[in-house]
Symmetry: C2
Subunit: 345 residues, 2 copies
């Protein structure tokens, strides 16, 4: 059986694991609700159990290493989670080292948005591109950038904080404290907030019917457009215009070959496309106008598949995390694991 | 004598040449007004003459190759100037190949803003940084970005079009056609325009006295602040706030170790600094607030020194331009020139 990667996507609510083959296919999958409040070792325990679960499903798989996507900021080179806002007590956690010791395999770590970008780049909507911007539009706005064939890290792995680029003087204050952030006007949350503001619970509007008279979400707006609701159509027009303004900036700043849009709101990509493209044509300098904007292809598994690509592909040398230690659970003499040869061979 | 580079900075008004040593020092320098309207071969002729001029000054110099900064967009890998707005008739010019044939040396080409970024990175204000953003604030706003130890190119070498990032709904229409571009509100031109708008020729204001009752320039504003003019102080405060907003975006998007500010307006760096830094502290997410913003060190020679670094340093493999042709001016049999060994040896 050819080489596979053991991949994890460590989220604040869900921890997912998979065995992924060289074509980016999931051979086995398992997930559990993350023990996000119970500290590092509780989650490490979950990872060990999930590793066993998925490996048991494909017993003859030769696992070349572990790729893991985790909330940033993190240091991909050292394999350290610096601080994960959604995981209690996670500060300066040498996750790659811990997992490498526990599981006896080389481990590479990447932040979750970058992992999703890598997934779409190697196996999804950005296949074959030399430079790519992946933007995820959901509760917030995040992303990852491939430039000249490499994932962009920057200082402390903090590059591509796309959501907190100022694009306007308008809009409500962003949770980050600034005003005019891309995220504050163009996220799914912002779209839902605008829809909530122009409707009232019980008003019988399509938006409120779809939301069950609760706060309207960005998804509700997309769903209402699909049934022709004029109020929703106007809201989604505004949304597409904001996306077009932000995307134009990303084209100018990173000059990708392709811009890949993922996240919950990308379910409405077909509805947003025309206005997004018109806004880009209207605002971008001529040399950037013909860059394709495409929907993500890997859906919720982009991060998992991208994490696997850290092991299955070797383009991104900078994120290399190598273990030369032994498995502490096995005190007999073992071969050193996680040499470069083991990863790249 | 140790290895030196022959460097050119090809501008729309001035063509500069220098011999630059491994420490980034200019051993010889010469310049001429660019024959910008006379087509490619007129400029190539100027380059050949300047090459002779500077080489004659240091006859024992061993020239390892030619680095040239030219107006973008250009393809650094192929060594082709795609289209230079300030040079008539320059479309798809294989400049590196032409010069390599003429001068019998390996040639590497980079766009002028990237060349300046490389100069400041290798020999100036950004020495030792792994990631760096260089922003030049003068007539327009441009820049170059080093990420993870490499200059960022992107599709068609068009990355880092910093001036045309939208940061506001305000401001006059930018020459690019959009509104709210960083350049449209924060360039030296924008600063001068604001100063011109609130004064009148002959009004006796410090700004108009300094401008000789012509249109006020950004430089005039800086000069007026130096003599304590309150109107100029207020204008420069606004300028610094716009710079702070734009710089905050650049920190979020590229996560550099240092942001280097060059261009004419950086003459007022000491006056701008406090408000620029306060704006960043106020708007940037915590992890980005302590990134130093520093003035450029190489002044008008940054591009020339950076062009030399293309030959003197080999970090940026992607811009490699190699000639294996012969010198057409010399039809005797010659050794092939411009092998990789010749560059890197």
């Amino acid at each position: 059986m050819s080489k596979v990667a053991l991949a994890f996507d460590l989220g604040g609510t869900e921890l997912r694991a998979a065995l992924v083959d060289r074509e980016g296919r999931l051979l086995a999958f398992a997930s559990v609700p993350t023990l996000a409040r119970d500290g590092v070792m509780a989650v490490v325990g979950q990872i060990e159990i999930l590793a066993e679960t998925v490996r048991r499903e494909v017993p003859d798989a030769v696992v070349a290493g572990i790729g893991i996507g985790a909330p940033g900021p993190l240091d991909p080179k050292a394999g350290i989670v610096l601080g994960a806002p959604t995981l209690s007590g996670w500060h300066d956690v040498p996750l790659a080292g811990i997992l490498s010791d526990r599981l006896g395999l080389p481990v590479r770590l990447e932040n979750d948005a970058n992992a999703a970008a890598l997934g779409e780049w190697h196996f999804g909507a950005g296949k074959g591109a030399n430079s790519l911007v992946f933007v995820t539009i959901s509760t917030g706005i995040g992303g990852g950038v491939i430039v000249d064939g490499r994932i962009m890290h920057g200082r402390r792995g903090l590059a591509a904080e796309i959501g907190h680029m100022t694009i306007t003087d308008k809009g409500e204050r962003c949770f980050c404290g600034a005003t005019g952030c891309f995220e504050a006007v163009a996220s799914g949350t912002a779209l839902g907030r605008r829809a909530t503001a122009i409707t009232v619970a019980g008003d019988g509007s399509r938006l409120r019917v779809l939301s069950g008279d609760a706060e309207v979400t960005g998804r509700d707006v997309v769903d209402a457009v699909r049934v022709g609701d004029p109020m929703a159509i106007s809201l989604l027009e505004d949304e597409a215009r904001w996306l077009g303004i932000g995307f134009t900036n990303l084209l100018h700043l990173y000059s990708p070959d392709v811009l890949v849009m993922g996240g919950g709101i990308s379910n409405g990509f077909d509805l947003l496309r025309e206005t997004v493209e018109a806004t880009i044509r209207n605002r971008a300098m001529p040399a950037y106008r013909d860059v394709p904007v495409v929907p993500a292809q890997l859906g919720r598994h982009a991060g998992l598949i991208g994490a696997a690509s850290l092991i299955l592909r070797d383009e991104d040398e900078t994120a290399l995390q190598v273990s030369t230690g032994e498995n502490p659970d096995n005190h007999t003499e073992t071969e050193p694991v996680g040499t470069r040869e083991a990863i790249h061979g």
